[in-house]
Symmetry: C2
């Protein structure tokens, strides 16, 4: 298998926000698609090892913040490469609360999602959720995963569905 | 709900190739993500009304051709806006056969997929499949759904998961 072909698939860059019993938490995701138009539902792949995975299963809701090309790089570093088990990721990030979920105010759009189904694989959960609210926040070009790799020269963490060793 | 926020999600553009008992068939898709890295699996949303949907369920295999920005526009017109129930979409398209599945030679990469699970929604099936073979064919920038809408000025058919009325 020529794994370079896998890098030709296109994705966006998102902060997934959810909560445990005490704090907001979340992580970076790229493997996210809309799967139906009526009602609007999405599918999202999150590694079992991500704390966000168990928090979505418990709270049954999450937010999606669409990152733009002008996003503060601190957000990707904070949400992509540290665990919310260790510290409060939202502590030093500008955010607001919409329907009880955290939204990074620096993102270009957000979606509020209610969990309706989970399909398990060996390593990742596929969360299927209905979008109950959404809004464009600012006029910024949505960042693609390709832009993150090729322009920002970003890396993929080991938990990413698209990680290549 | 502000549906403009949904247009901020990023996707690629793909020809999904499969077969019925007599012919190759397929359609354009954008709602496709890699969901696990080991083994490499993907999730793909296809409308129940697409002939490709029932052919994937019957044949349990399909190819993914990644369309690049320099793709022949005839391919998008043929695979995106006509039904394979009516005619042989591959008849006037340059393709080769890999592992018994059709690959548009004009695409920039391909993946061969074996169906492992289907999750149903009201309007679309979410196909979960293992990628058994993949290859980069040519050096072309993968086309994003945003490029298709904003540069080529393409439209979405009604069956698309990301269709907005």
């Amino acid at each position: 298998m020529d794994t370079s072909a896998l890098t030709k698939l296109s994705y966006g860059m998102y902060v997934i926000g959810t909560k445990d019993n005490e704090h907001f938490c979340g992580c970076i995701a790229n493997s996210l698609i809309q799967i139906t138009a009526e009602p609007v539902t999405i599918a999202l792949s999150i590694n079992h090892n991500n704390y966000t995975n168990e928090c979505i299963k418990n709270s049954k809701e999450f937010s999606i913040c669409v990152l733009g090309e002008k996003i503060n790089p601190l957000i990707i570093g904070t949400f992509g490469f540290r665990s919310a088990r260790d510290f409060n990721k939202f502590e030093n990030i500008k955010y607001e609360t919409i329907e009880g979920l955290p939204i990074c105010t620096d993102s270009c759009a957000y979606l509020i999602c209610k969990l309706i189904n989970v399909t398990e694989t060996n390593t990742h959960s596929i969360f299927i959720a209905e979008v109950t609210e959404s809004k464009t926040i600012k006029d910024d070009t949505p960042m693609t995963y390709s832009y993150y790799h090729n322009v920002i020269k970003g890396k993929s963490p080991k938990n990413a569905p698209t990680y290549i060793a």
